[in-house]
Symmetry: C2
Subunit: 203 residues, 2 copies
């Protein structure tokens, strides 16, 4: 599905630059890409970061399964091809949000290196921040907040990451969060400190 | 392609409401959907509105062929199915932008009533503003800024709106702009006046 068909169209910047919107917002658009096993706490951390940033007057937004799988990607299933297309579309929407100037977060397992690298390649240097939420499979399975591991072990869900489908850990993520060893607030603080250290939001 | 496959997922609001982001931005998110023939001036008007709003300190963004067809929808062609999917995805992305709180504009021919109505149905009452850029075919063809009508008449482009594919004019658009009879600045002022009259941006 990612074959290029629309080739007779040229790109232009539009009349307002990202720079002007970023000045207006007092921040720099970026795409914080959380990746990790189901149950590792990606969404919880992302929403905690969003909450804290908005409290500080920054514009932040989380793309996750709830607002993406119900809408833009509701016509995609869980085949290998559809999973790749799922992540591709999320990367492209993330790019648009970054162009708007938003601190954008994605919270998807996104288990494959190649798919995440393709998303990274859409953004400029420094705009893509890969955050590996590193929690051992055993801990995720023990938590099992949605009962999905149980179903996967029972064979009711096929191709479940960590059980019968691989998770490819990031090789050089911008951040690693050992979420088994800290609270969501501590994890969120780690992300926000990173954003401030890079000048993406004001200290 | 718009069959619903991902049904085992539930929607939740996230931790920050649209309302909080709108308060932060001092505006209300909305989707201004420009529709009209090729060459009617949709993009020019949209970018003029964007420019003026950003000058007033508002966050506005235009989704158009350039940033969508090169990215999110680059794997779609021009078959009937792909055209519908093109507009469907644009509507869904527009909805996400509205949820972020942005004054969002789309500038696509979007010739079919059903596709535009499907986009309208994604948004809440008052969030979807259909703007019919009403310019006679003869004027658009005379302008022909990209030389597309010439190619369509020569049979080099098939299924071109207004030539060998229908344009279904909106029945009850929020705004009609007679763009043959005004400047882009006047057209943009019409749109911004509407936004202010509805309290979507401050007067």
């Amino acid at each position: 599905m990612s074959e290029v068909k629309a080739t007779n169209i040229t790109w232009h910047e539009g009349h307002v630059s990202r720079d002007e919107r970023e000045k207006l917002l007092g921040q720099k658009g970026c795409l914080i890409w959380f990746t990790g096993l189901s149950g590792s706490g990606k969404s919880t951390i992302a929403f905690t970061v969003e909450h804290e940033l908005v409290r500080e007057g920054r514009l932040a937004y989380v793309l996750d399964g709830d607002n993406i799988r119900h809408g833009l990607n509701k016509n995609l299933g869980f085949s290998a091809e559809d999973r790749a297309e799922n992540i591709r579309r999320i990367g492209e929407v993330g790019k648009l949000f970054v162009d708007l100037g938003a601190i954008t977060m994605t919270a998807f397992i996104s288990p494959y290196l190649a798919d995440r690298d393709a998303a990274r390649a859409l953004l400029d240097d420094g705009q893509f921040i890969e955050v590996f939420v590193d929690v051992p499979l055993e801990s995720c399975e023990e938590r099992d907040p949605k009962g999905l591991y149980k179903k996967a072990r029972a064979g009711e869900i096929k191709g479940f990451t960590g059980i019968d489908d691989p998770y490819e850990a990031p090789k050089n993520p911008e951040l690693v969060i050992k979420n088994g060893e800290c609270t969501p607030q501590q994890a969120a603080a780690q992300v926000i400190d990173y954003l401030k250290s890079r000048g993406l939001v004001r200290s």
